[in-house]
């Protein structure tokens, strides 16, 4: 299989956008999906419980040193950067904010590229800052597949626009088309 993992970066408007993607994925989706959603440091895991309840695919918070498995959506814990190690496990960091964010999308994307290289799919969704643009650029340069939510279809368009300005992406999609596209992309890719 050409692709081994999907990383998603999303900020303001994420609840609705992810609600159009995660519940549409089947329980046996063949890739892990790793999400950085910008979120308040004090927030509980309401979002994870919510998506786990309404989705067929397993949804959980990424645990430190956990082995990354297909058929699972992982969320970065609030107030920690989430990183992927070369042995496909997670690690966490409390170092300074990056792009005013912790978790930062760039930190996830940069480390995921190191591990997955060209077999990574990167997605930038709705949001109000430019976190993730550099990471998406790196995914593209290393041969991965890049998707950005159509800015006109985004609750907040700044983050998709920033990504599009920096990266010649492979696909621009309305949010309700993303899950279907991903399933086709990984199904045709055997």
């Amino acid at each position: 299989m050409q692709y081994k993992a999907i990383v998603i970066g999303v900020s303001a408007g994420g609840m609705n956008a992810l609600g159009q993607i995660i519940p549409r994925l089947p329980a046996d989706f063949p890739l892990p999906v790793i999400v950085v959603q910008h979120i308040s440091p004090q927030s509980d895991n309401y979002m994870i419980r919510h998506f786990n309840n309404i989705s067929k695919i397993r949804v959980k918070e990424a645990d430190e040193k956990e082995k990354i498995k297909p058929g699972t959506v992982y969320f970065a814990p609030p107030n920690y950067h989430l990183m992927v190690e070369n042995d496909f496990t997670f690690s966490l960091s409390v170092e300074e904010r990056v792009n005013f964010s912790r978790p930062s999308i760039d930190v996830l994307f940069d480390t995921a590229v190191e591990a997955y290289w060209g077999s990574l799919i990167g997605i930038i969704l709705t949001g109000a800052n430019n976190d993730g643009s550099n990471g998406l650029k790196r995914i593209k340069e290393c041969g991965g597949f890049t998707i950005v939510q159509n800015p006109d279809n985004s609750e907040v368009s700044a983050m998709p626009e920033a990504a599009l300005k920096l990266v010649k992406v492979d696909k621009i999609l309305d949010v309700d088309k993303i899950a279907g596209f991903l399933m086709k992309l990984v199904a045709t890719d055997k």
Binding site: E64, K65, P77, M83, S91, V94, E95, G118, E141
Partner: protein, 281 residues
């Protein structure tokens, strides 16, 4: 371009191994068992901030320029913390652990990897309010001398007080947080009385050993930077440093679940990341 990047990645991973070996051979600090993603990010960050063409150049600079080495050491040591960080944790200490600590005539507490000291003073305040500070000895250790000196000073930027006060109140603090500091210009200075029972000392978790029998060890968001082998080694060190029934406190996203020593700890308060060394095996 893709192939070129792949060669760079391969070479950089080799250079990072050499870089960490150079630090170990020259200075004795051992980062070889730190998580690679974290280490690579920090080294690449220094490379871009200081404008080096490659990591090999940085190795040379580090070996010949002690000041540059000090910068590297700061890069590799994460000191981001706050007072009463994760207020619920301190609340659990008050309700679950303090009643048991009160049964001891004298209490030894070790803050391992204390960084700039915010959490050490948080514990001192908590113990003071619970009437335990006078019979406590707190050992606050770190390998980072610069951070340790800041911890010793107990002086923090005034703009952080709002956050500290919020945390303190949420943690079940019994007084007014402003009782514990004096504001001067842009800084707050914590009360000297909080320091009376704290010893700040240089200790490296990776290379140093047991130095006392503790009733409680606090090591939060330190081992997240270690690989599994090093985590196991340090948890064993903590096990050996605790009295039977002693407490080990980890960060809110850490766990003993994957650790070799896990069966030797009681997990009654696992949710709060408080583990207790079993009395007998």
């Amino acid at each position: 371009m893709k192939e070129e990047l792949e060669i760079i990645r391969e070479n950089e991973n080799i250079e990072i191994e050499l870089f960490l070996n150079a630090i170990f051979l020259k200075f004795g600090y051992d980062f070889r068992n730190y998580g690679k993603a974290h280490i690579k990010r920090r080294i690449k960050h220094r490379q871009s901030v200081s404008g080096f063409d490659n990591i090999s150049e940085m190795i040379h600079k580090m070996l010949y320029d002690p000041l540059f080495y000090q910068e590297i050491l700061q890069d590799l040591s994460i000191t981001v913390t706050e007072m009463f960080r994760d207020p619920d944790f301190y609340k659990s200490i008050r309700t679950e652990v303090v009643p048991l600590l009160k049964t001891y005539p004298f209490i030894k507490i070790w803050h391992a990897g204390c960084a700039t000291g915010e959490e050490v003073y948080s514990m001192a305040i908590l113990l003071k309010e619970e009437g335990l500070l006078k019979r406590s000895q707190i050992y606050a250790t770190d390998f980072n001398q610069l951070a340790l000196q800041r911890a010793r000073n107990g002086i923090y930027p005034i703009e952080r007080i709002k956050e500290f006060t919020f945390n303190y109140q949420k943690s079940g603090g019994k007084a007014s947080f402003s009782d514990y500091y004096n504001a001067r210009y842009e800084s707050v200075i914590l009360n000297e009385s909080l320091k009376e029972n704290i010893v700040f000392a240089d200790h490296n978790l990776v290379t140093d050993g047991v130095f006392g029998e503790m009733n409680m060890i606090i090591c939060r968001n330190v081992m997240i930077y270690f690989d599994k082998d090093l985590q196991n080694k340090v948890i064993k060190l903590f096990y050996e440093s605790l009295v039977p029934g002693g407490f080990l406190c980890l960060g809110s996203k850490e766990s003993l679940r994957f650790a070799e020593s896990a069966p030797r700890f009681d997990t009654t308060y696992e949710k709060e990341k408080i583990y207790r060394k079993k009395f007998a095996e």
